[in-house]
Symmetry: D2
Subunit: 288 residues, 4 copies
């Protein structure tokens, strides 16, 4: 910043791990998820339900997000739940539904893997493996996923510093997998009016320090659907390469995180606004 010769350059030059650091690939990495390119000029929208619940729920939600401009379909089959008595996901059956919904709509699919023993199975059904916030420092899982040939969506730990986050990504790259997308999803702070504090500062910080693409999950980050449109627009304006959004065809019946899931019609309206922000910053939303 600044073209004065005696300027103080405040661009962050941390001693980041080798493979993820910006200097390793100053031009940036483009991650290819079955043809969808993340990290380029086009912004990629991933949307879908928090959890796969049924054939109907998934196919209706998938069709609506596809129609509104999403490029990737998300949906959890293995769900990390605070309580052992909460719905834990449909497992392999959920993965099968997800694969079918992806094929029907032409969208690549992304789903979470929580256990080293599941990596191979999940990898057979999805186009991108997601490692969730609670597993950001599950090092055996990082190593196992890093050995997979699939691209990986690595969410930031809700209590992880940027430095720890970059080191977690380094675990993946150190196993040979270079197709990693980072995702800010809210950190834990004293503020309780939002479920987490979505830390948009992480976007420009990560962009300065690493060559990996950076997306944002405002659904988990805020925990409140009424805040998602504002934070989605802000994420793009701050430089995010994409968004991960929860949409449910009937949020009031969702088995998981209904209060943060957008209604399909709200998602559609929001997509139009996001298109305008993208244009204002010289980018565009990827369309299938």
């Amino acid at each position: 910043m600044g073209n004065d010769s005696c300027s103080i350059d405040t661009t962050i030059k941390a001693n980041d791990p080798e493979l993820v650091s910006k200097s390793a690939r100053p031009e940036g990495t483009i991650v290819d998820v079955n043809g969808i390119k993340i990290g380029g000029k086009e912004i990629v929208i991933m949307a879908g339900p928090c959890a796969v619940e049924s054939e109907e729920q998934l196919s209706k939600t998938a069709a609506s997000v596809r129609a509104a401009g999403a490029s990737l379909l998300r949906g959890g089959a293995f769900k990390p739940r605070t309580s052992p008595y909460s719905f834990q996901g449909l497992g392999k059956e959920g993965l099968e539904m997800l694969e079918r919904a992806g094929t029907e709509t032409g969208m690549p699919v992304v789903s979470e893997v929580m256990d080293t023993r599941q990596v191979e199975t999940v990898a057979r059904y999805v186009d991108m493996l997601q490692i969730g916030s609670r597993n950001m420092q599950n090092f055996p899982l990082l190593k196992e996923a890093g050995r997979s040939s699939l691209p990986i969506l690595l969410k930031r730990g809700m209590m992880a510093t940027i430095e720890e986050y970059l080191n977690a990504a380094e675990y993946l790259l150190s196993q040979g997998n270079t197709q990693v997308v980072l995702c800010e999803r809210g950190i834990r702070t004293f503020e309780s009016s939002t479920r987490y504090t979505l830390d948009l500062n992480a976007i420009p910080v990560l962009k300065q320090r690493t060559h990996l693409p950076v997306i944002v999950d405002p659904s988990h980050g805020t925990g409140n659907r009424s805040l998602v449109p504002a934070m989605s627009k802000a994420s793009l304006a701050a430089g995010a390469d994409g968004l991960l959004l929860e949409v449910h065809f009937r949020p009031e019946e969702a088995l998981c995180d209904g209060s943060q899931s957008l209604y399909p019609e709200d998602f559609g309206m929001m997509m139009r606004d996001l298109g305008k922000i993208a244009e204002a910053i010289g980018r565009s939303i990827h369309v299938l």
Copy 2:
């Protein structure tokens, strides 16, 4: 959100204090700072140095921010500093310089007041009183400022919840002063890659809960000038009614917070980008 009759409305309906709550004035409040209107369709940019240091520093910085599109001039004469041995501001002399710079450039001026005994004096020189983050719960100061006829810029405490913030504003309104602008400026979290964690979630949350205008200070919020453009754009996209920015004609010589102050030329470039974001959301930047 959602036009389904059985939708779960997640819009926040907290039990907020009476005078500041959205329901007290659903149409929103427009604060008038000597003719500059904050809280309407136009976005207002306040800029200037962290501290008034000299006639030259202030007049050169003021002229440059005026030329680039700022509408209000900021500058601290009484500075809250962590150490008693740091530069504490020029005091009354600084206020005089600020008043002159405002008159010369045609910009209303805003400056911080830290002591109940200073309110009257500061009010003679400025167009808007600022109450800083460390004084957000300095209740005698809130009461004294609330009795002033000047508009007030109340910054969020770095440790304050939204609920406490609204209660602090209620102190001002309860004294009869309705001309209050709120300002998110970063909260304290475990993350150390930024000086504070600028909490943009506060923008839509405050917009749902209060009728008062909301602006953002990305300079203090990040503590790093290289992050200011991204976070400024994000603030507008999230719905902020204005920005409070630090600009210094020579940041490397600043007596206070130089690393977060923009160079005038960077400020100018950023203003052009902000104009595009404003347009994308159907607003515009106020110009003098």
Copy 3:
């Protein structure tokens, strides 16, 4: 630690401000509050109601804490309250009651001052000035109190780092007042099962870095009377020089913070346990 010649000494040697740093007075400071010595071998218990509410409430509570072994009487006359509509304290009338209760019981009294304009008045009635958590960085107040000849109880800001805390104390010492007692009272974190997170780590950290006495306020720190006995014992075991405790003769009728106020009989029982902990660490509780 360690008598090995090649040991790594982990004792903290921060670049702390000059007057408060341990090296300025390695033998430690003893603060004398009208004959009660804080910072020596004897542990000092300060107790009383959060707020002075009435002659009866204060005199009954004072008598009971005196009987159970407290040496100083606390009681707020000017109360910093989140809401402008909450009880704000009895003001000067409360100070008069406090002075009388102190005289009757033979206990020095401590009370909070919130406004630079009140310092002189409060100082006429009390033996020790308290600066509360929300005013830890109210620099004009620190300067004004630092010019007083009374000893000062400076509470840690609920979001202040140890470094900032020591700098706040430096403000007091730089004005010539060396009689300063520090008080850990809980910091703000994500954990919500306690009102704040009482940070007992601050005790040994402060003891390594400064010569000033350190006490703890487990009443505000936890916000829950059922946790006060355990945290009081732990504070002494960690090296605190005293405790600041809320006791109310009828907590269920308290105008302020009743749920964290001890019943007199619980306070009495706790004092016996504290005596045993004090003995176990080679100290004793000061008795009048």
Copy 4:
């Protein structure tokens, strides 16, 4: 608290999960680790190196902690490290060393398991399985460990609320394993003078809400050996049933966390002080 009939009872009555909640077993659970009973009147000290590094390091450290009064030997064979390039532990070879050192000294051993695929293997060598802070919400691991017949040491996540912590323990109990010990080890806050903020408030809070034994790890909690003695004493005074401590025969040569490891002679001195605190609260330190 309080014997007044109209007292406000502030004892915490949260809606905690069924199996771990205090009401399920008001008399408390005693966990038996190969004859060592945790949760009774006797306080149990677990000590040893952070990581097993060599036969010599382990056997010398084990002998010294045994001599000074520790009852259980700790030592990591699989280490969760922030960077993929840091020492990751000796794996199975480390477990073999640990088993031998346990046999030689007559101490049961505890070691961390990080991967669902390792549970069976680790269980063959140790007397108690440890689940680390970063895996507190690794739900597949909790389920797998819960199916083991070994007692489990479940550390609190550095970002976990008490409620989430109790739910994580519920995962273990819901699989049939009732032998679970909880361990506070520091949470992440804004304060940077300690590595984490050891949250001793968690001790009385957990004691009110669950029947499971609670111990504390002041080594990780503070990250600084000079703070360990004060925080260990405070932990016992607050009601902890035991301590988990890092001791290394040569901390300056440790491959992991040397700055928080006690020298054997410091550990010995501290044990004598801990005995006095235990006595003051009517308990004693278990000796082999």
